[in-house]
Amino acid sequence: MMTSTSLVYLIALPLAGSAILLLAGRRSDKWGHLLATALSASSFFVGLYQLSLMVGRTNSDRPVTQKLFEWISVGTFKIDASLMLDQLSICFVLLITGVGTLIHIYSISYMSHDPDRRRFFAFLNLFIAAMLLLVLGDSYLNLYVGWEGVGLASYLLIGFWNQKPAYATASKKAFVMNRIGDMGLSFAIMIAFATMGTVSFSGVKEAAGHTSTAALTGIGIMLLVAATGKSAQFPLQAWLGDAMAGPTPVSALIHAATMVTAGVYLITRSNFIFDAAPTAQLLVVIVGAITLMFGALIGTAKDDIKKALAASTMSQIGYMILGAGLGPVGYAFAIMHLLTHGFFKAGMFLGAGSVMHGMNDEVNMRKYGALRKFMPITFATFGLGYLAILGVPPFAGFYSKDMIIETAFNSGGAKGIILGCVTLLGAGITAFYMTRVMILTFTGKSRWDEEAHPHESPWLMWLPMAILAIGSVTSGYLLSHGDTLVNWLSPLFVNHGERAELLSPVVVSGLALAMVAIGVAIAFVKYSRNEVAAVAPTDVSIFTTIARQDLLQDRFNEAVFMQPGQALTAVLVKTDEAVIDGAVRGVGRIALGSGSALRGIQTGFVRSYAALILIGAVALIAAIWVVTQ
């Protein structure tokens, strides 16, 4: 594999920005945000440069590595801190730095009234560096460092306004639920090390051929647990809605475009494990399908625009996970949906931020309405993202989502038909709740509060939205035209050859569009014809109530995990006080007692100290005398 010396700059530039901003403190308040944006952009240009180099080489020469230093060296077990950039990583690098830079630019304006803007940018840069480390690490251990790094950055940014207790709790919730996934990743690494003796991607890939299926299934399930934690998949999805407590650019960057897709990256990267462990792969598909429906159902009931978008994110990542679980044919489509989703969902989040910006940080969609006239640019960019997520041709989602639906149908047997129906239904529900968001926000009558004065956002905010909107329109066509992305990624995956087609692409597209049309129509009938109440009605069906409460996931977690956990903690606290504190205090008392006993020899006279030294010397010599006898 070829080596490169410039990979490290991808990570080092934003990391340096974060360090400078945090260390320089208030001195950098004036220029910190500009520095952070510039460093993120320069990292993006390094990525483009790497891409240009990579395109110029033949398929087998494309991956490059760079060894930074020897990290762990224990006997024969060696791990280098080294980076690897291949066809898969470069997609992520460009998505992270590209979307990241746009969101930096957006945040300059969005956060301009926040006294802590510098800290915000420091954390953003930290996130970019950690996320790049995650996708550039050449072993599971290096990936793990980045994995924890993005978790930290996510925690810091969700709780950015931690003066509000609810936001601080939300960040804690996200962190704790992510820990469960992190445990899964560390277990996967440990099993891989125990059975294969290596944790590097290439080493594991090689060893996967002659490792027992049981071990591979174990690793695969643990990797799936990790992915569910980070990507907010069932059953660890509950944190994503609360994560919307963070500033909106954070939701756009971390909780829509990049970090939450790390699970998809992990599964795609570990394709050699899942290909050899069908049970684990089936679980991946099931998790993806459940989350897809779960997120879509939650999305229909949320009145908070950001939470509705978060539920949509959850659902769309469910599509990606499902795609990744379909094996070699699905990986590339999962990645394609990930990239297009990165564009349109980030664009929609930025649009939501723009709406909030104009509406005094109001997030309740029932208090919006008729904003189309006041925010034409936001409406246009949001609308393009809306068309993209619906899968209307020729927007991005049409290409990527239809590919996944088609692959699901064609995966064979009853499984294929069930998965196909689930994805089709999901597309319909997606159309319903996204139309609902559009109608409640931009059309109809205004239901604003008295003091709201909606206005279009400054150009620093709408420019990134516009660029992302262009991406949502074109990216799908560009990536799928002539199978660009599939061919680009194909050297990474083992190809099993074509399977029999159950439904042709045209039929699938027709079905999907029909579902979308039904969803849109229902939403129109329900929200455009009828008056929308500014306060959420309470006399609703039991299903709406349940959906509003995130399908009772939080209640379940509280009853099954939290309360027994708290009881256990109470017992532990008692034990701690009685046994451990008792022991510690006993040691303290011993020290105190011996101290007051020995205080007698402290006379303050130098001569008595000298006499003690003399006695000590005599004792030493006596010891030597005895020993050398």
Binding site: T603, F605, R607, S608, A611, L614, I615, A617, V618, I621, A622, I624, W625, T628
Partner: protein, 263 residues
């Protein structure tokens, strides 16, 4: 002297004679250091011990160290000791009664234990071992031999020690430096102070010591016009030491005080 000591060192019997004369003397001098009251006497006994050690060095084939010992210790260090003694008071003397209860028995027991153990250890360790002697390594000269080692193997410690010396010199200067808290009074201020002190007795300055025409020593008080001794004419430190002579011998027998002042 050096030649004599060198020759003595090379032959067994004379060295033994030298040792058996000087060693007891130096032990006695060291013990004397402990027991005499006055610090000055201790210093002189210390100087004797050091010179004796210098002779032992020379006798053992270390003439360089012997000379350095004389120059550094009996020359510089002992001078410094005497100088400080002068500052602190030459006459200062200890009472040898112990004030910390139980310290003296501890010291004696400790000393006996230490000495006894050391001697018995030495007896065991050196049993039957013959000295190699430094004649071979001193073939090119003792100074050259030490210089070879100092500037090769020990050159780094040597430099460090030089830094230590400079630091010590600077440190002692800092320690001994006296900060004046108030400004030094000018002559003008002093004279204003004299006139405003309430009495004009000392306005013209203190009387000079000595009895005019009869005696001019600083330790003899001047006589006042009425024939009594003027205590203010003697330096305060002489008074504190009790070194003031009686000037009554120079008093006038009688002074006729009956004659009234003419007006």
């Amino acid at each position: 002297m050096i030649d004599l000591a060198l020759q003595v060192g090379q032959t067994a019997a004379p060295e033994a004679t030298l040792f058996w004369i000087l060693a007891p003397l130096s032990v006695v001098a060291a013990l004397g250091m402990l027991l005499v009251k006055k610090a000055v006497h201790s210093a002189i006994l210390m100087a004797f011990v050091m010179i004796a050690l210098a002779i032992f060095y020379i006798a053992q084939g270390a003439p360089f160290l012997g000379i350095v010992q004389v120059v550094v210790y009996t020359g510089a260090v002992m001078m410094l000791f005497l100088f400080i003694l002068m500052l602190v008071g030459v006459d200062s003397s200890d009472s040898l009664t112990e004030t910390i209860r139980g310290l003296r028995p501890i010291a004696i027991i400790g000393a006996v234990g230490f000495g006894g153990l050391m001697v018995s250890l030495l007896a065991r360790a050196t049993l039957g071992r013959n000295a190699v002697g430094v004649e071979a390594v001193n073939a090119d000269g003792n100074v050259q031999g030490i210089a070879n080692l100092l500037f090769s193997t020990y050159v780094w410690p040597f430099e460090v020690v030089s830094a230590l010396l400079i630091t010590a010199a600077l440190g002692s200067m800092v320690l001994a430096h006296h900060h004046r808290i108030q400004t030094r009074p000018t002559q003008r201020e002093l004279s204003i102070q004299r006139f405003r002190s309430g009495s004009l007795a000392n306005a013209a300055g203190l009387p000079a010591p000595g009895v005019f025409a009869r005696h001019n020593a600083v330790d003899v008080p001047a006589l006042l016009p009425d024939g009594t001794a003027a205590a203010a004419s003697i330096n305060a430190s002489l008074k504190a030491r009790g070194d003031v002579l009686n000037s009554s011998a120079f008093e006038l027998g009688t002074v006729d005080t009956s004659a009234g002042e003419e007006k």
